[in-house]
């Protein structure tokens, strides 16, 4: 590389702004100082998108559809697709009861535990940065709030299984931390073995690390894990996923890589369930 030729680049400005940017970065990573700012911006962005879509694009789109005399058909088609997705979500527990739960008694216990007056809420995904989901450790999505914000701790499921839990809410949207997020942990079990499965940062992959001197149980690829219900957030006995690989960690522990059956990319409608002590 050639030597730097003398120029009149203003070094002081760069110095000050690089220090300022580093300070911002430190504060955001260490203390989450700008989280509320980012959430506020996201909420504004989503609301603006929605308004623009409803005011500008939808009328234009409808006008075009009217000219083709297909509006009613298209609307009913969209309605049916949404209904189908909702129906899939609502029935996912029943449809998959044979494989989703350890046994039927756990399913019935789970259904009985849900209060009759307000068992769950249906929500629509407002934004999901799929690029961040694929590339990076933080796996989050946002839901449009219904009449009131979703409460922290609510379990979020779609027709494929548990995808995450509500981590934050404001007036417009609620943030969902996915179970594959690096900062998320879900208590799981398989027979008599219990562990906290941490998100690996890879899509649909969880990690369960244990000390083989404490747990004598042996594992094989394909072994199924269920939620243990410990912690009181996630309902007990729901299938989480199965082992895809077993590794020896550097500190002598054993690392189980578990592939979650739930895929957040499949649907735009989800269900938020609340444990009894939240709702």
């Amino acid at each position: 590389m050639a030597r730097i030729a003398p120029g009149n680049t203003p070094k002081f400005g760069y110095f000050v702004l690089i220090i300022l940017a580093s300070l911002f970065l430190y504060l955001d990573i260490q203390y989450k100082t700008f989280t509320s700012t980012k959430n506020f911006f996201n909420a504004g962005l989503i609301a603006t998108n929605l308004v623009i879509k409803n005011i500008v694009f939808t009328p234009i789109s409808n006008l075009y559809k009217l000219t083709n005399n297909k509006l009613a058909l298209i609307n009913s088609n969209e309605l049916l697709v949404n209904e189908l997705e909702l129906s899939k979500s609502e029935n996912f527990l029943i449809l998959n009861k044979d494989k989703l739960f350890n046994d039927n008694s756990e399913l019935y216990a789970f259904i009985n535990d849900i209060p009759n007056d307000y068992p769950y809420e249906i929500a629509t995904i407002s934004s999901f940065d799929t690029n961040l989901y694929k590339c990076c450790d933080n796996h989050r999505l946002h839901l449009f709030n219904n009449s009131s914000p979703f409460k922290k701790g609510g379990t979020v499921i779609n027709s494929t299984g548990i995808i995450g839990q509500i981590s934050d809410s404001n007036n417009k949207v609620s943030e969902v931390i996915l179970i594959s997020d690096i900062n998320h942990s879900i208590p799981i079990k398989s027979n008599t073995f219990f562990c906290n499965a941490n998100g690996s940062g890879k899509p649909q992959v969880l990690e369960c690390k244990y000390d083989p001197s404490l747990w004598k149980e042996s594992f094989e690829i394909g072994r199924i894990f269920y939620s243990s219900g410990l912690g009181g957030i996630f309902p007990e006995g729901i299938m989480v996923g199965s082992i895809i690989s077993i590794e020896n960690a550097a500190d002598g522990d054993i690392l189980l890589n578990i592939e979650s059956i739930a895929n957040p990319l499949t649907q735009k409608n989800v269900i938020v369930l609340y444990p009894n002590d939240i709702k």
Partner: protein
């Protein structure tokens, strides 16, 4: 630099960043990543006669941090540093061939991607992804340079 020109520059960077996020979703599985937004920003810093110095670089970076959901200040920091490096070498570029300039910007994009992944993908940091992306971004730079030159001739006043 007029406000209109700054807005034009800003829009091209945001648009490239948007395209980038859409493409990366499909190619990340193959251990390659584009940094189109960063390359477009680098193009503007490299080619503008009225110079994109520290403050515009910082502001553009901060806006991308807000939009993309990355840690606040990360893009601001990297854009400011990149702008400084490019400006420091701006006289040296005149004696460089286009291939050398391409390699320079491919390296810059590789370091940018590396830093982004250090902060946002710490647990699954992949040297292979960074290494392969060096070649991809080198090729991307050639296309961006050609496309943005045409854009600049038509829209930038």
């Amino acid at each position: 630099m007029t406000l209109n020109n700054f807005i034009r520059i800003f829009i091209t960077i945001i648009f490239a960043n948007y395209i980038n996020s859409k493409i990366n979703f499909f190619i990340t599985d193959y251990y390659i990543n584009f940094t189109l937004g960063f390359l477009v920003f680098s193009y503007w810093v490299y080619t503008l006669k009225e110079h994109l110095y520290a403050l515009p670089s910082f502001c553009i970076g901060l806006s991308i941090d807000l939009i993309s959901g990355s840690p606040f200040g990360l893009n601001a920091l990297l854009f400011s540093i990149s702008s400084y490096i490019i400006h420091s070498y701006r006289y040296s570029f005149k004696i460089f061939s286009f291939l050398q300039v391409t390699i320079f910007f491919a390296f810059l994009a590789m370091f940018y991607l590396g830093f982004i992944h250090i902060f946002m993908n710490t647990a699954n940091f992949s040297y292979l992804l960074i290494f392969l992306s060096f070649f991809l971004n080198g090729i991307a730079w050639v296309f961006i340079y050609i496309l943005m030159n045409r854009f600049k001739k038509i829209f930038y006043k």
